[in-house]
């Protein structure tokens, strides 16, 4: 479907329900959809959330705000350590942490959006992070079977969106955003700028609009 551009950030995040799994783009705060996160913090009471994001923000910033509200039950990330409050929450038994190697994390989200039922990767084989996973030796190299990761809602950030929902990312603010845009039942994109249809070069669109349900302008 083509995207809607007519609703507010608050209405958009109102689609997130208690117990949902929510993907949030960004590498640290770069490329994170901060307007959508703030709306989720201020205008939603959905709680008991599972957050899929490379980091759980920083203390009091980005997803760190949601963490302080005690609304994150579970995190799936490659690097919780960048927010000491997330580490403290894990140690206090308040946050359930699933740690995934960063490349496997990215690939599993891609698989979730691409209809792949699982994939074998050599990364993590024989380590703590392979515990409980199926192992298989392929061409002499140990691999682990990784499952796709999907979400109910994805919150992503793009520098530019057109009115159909096509997205273009700037520099290293791209990171996990294009992957997460594909892997949720509902994808909400925050855009630095919303441009008329036809303004993005068709070869340069990174996320075609069929992945995007709602576009909201950054504040």
């Amino acid at each position: 479907m083509t995207a809607s551009t007519a609703i507010s950030a608050e209405e958009a995040v109102g689609r997130i329900r208690t117990g949902d799994t929510v993907m949030v783009g960004g590498f640290g705060l770069v490329g994170a959809p901060l307007t959508l996160i703030d709306a989720l913090v201020e205008a939603s009471d959905a709680t008991d959330l599972t957050i899929v994001s490379n980091n759980i923000g920083e203390p009091g910033r980005g997803l760190g705000k949601l963490l302080r509200q005690g609304r994150i039950r579970r995190g799936i990330s490659s690097y919780f350590t960048s927010n000491p409050e997330a580490v403290a929450a894990v140690n206090a038994g308040e946050l359930d942490a699933r740690l995934v190697p960063q490349g496997t994390f990215a690939e599993a989200i891609r698989a979730g959006g691409a209809g792949i039922g699982g994939f074998f990767t050599p990364v993590g084989a024989g380590t703590l992070l392979a515990e409980g996973k199926e192992e298989r030796v392929i061409d002499g190299i140990p691999h682990v079977l990784e499952e796709p990761i999907r979400a109910d809602v994805s919150l992503v950030y793009a520098a530019r969106a057109d009115e159909l929902g096509n997205l273009w990312y700037r520099r290293t603010a791209r990171n996990f955003n294009p992957l997460m845009a594909t892997a949720a039942s509902l994808t909400i994109a925050e855009a630095g700028e919303i441009v008329p249809v036809g303004d993005l070069e068709p070869e340069s669109v990174v996320t075609p609009h069929l992945y995007v349900d709602i576009v909201v302008a950054s504040r």
Binding site: T2, A114, G115, E163, P202, V205, H209, L210, Y211
Partner: protein, 218 residues
Amino acid sequence: MTDGVKARIAARAALELRPGEVVNLGIGIPNLIPGFLGPETSVVLHTENGLLGVGPRPGDGELDPDLIDAAKQPITALPGAAYFDSATSFAMIRGGHVDVAVLGALEVSGDGDIANWAVPGKDVLGVGGAMDLVVGARRVIVTMTSTSSRGEPKVVERCTYPLTAAGAVDVVVTELSVFRRIDGVLHLTELLDAATVEDVAVVTTAPFVVALEESHVG
């Protein structure tokens, strides 16, 4: 099958597409559908060789050798189009991001099995994107005549040709009728072009429930 029959099937199938949907059209009858959508349609066409936003066939001066559809025919691209590689294109399809696939078939069974790529005893050497599309698209609409050129039924109890996928078909539009699979059961929901239930039953070996809705055409 006359061009008039093909066009009538395409016209009826076009009514199945909803505003804003992303649709992939197969070769043959499905390729006639854009002519029935109207120039102001918000339906968006996807071609699996790497374009979302397929426009009309090019005029003489507009031909671009780098711009074709999956049938290898020249096309144009609309404002707001996007190009991507084949892995990305099929990730869209397999991941359920293409709302509708419309394609032809040799046979469809009452269970929604579809055979549309191979004839036993002949070469089985071309499958293209058929399997990906019928497995991945959220809704699969088959457009075909009710019988083969030899007069054999094509909506059958059990496919005899090699399957493209099992249980994949949602809607079948022929020159006689519309069938829908509802809760896994084939329903005859509409009669076309003055056909009767009897006319349909004669050329259909799949069991079906008659549950006629108001007609969309004529």
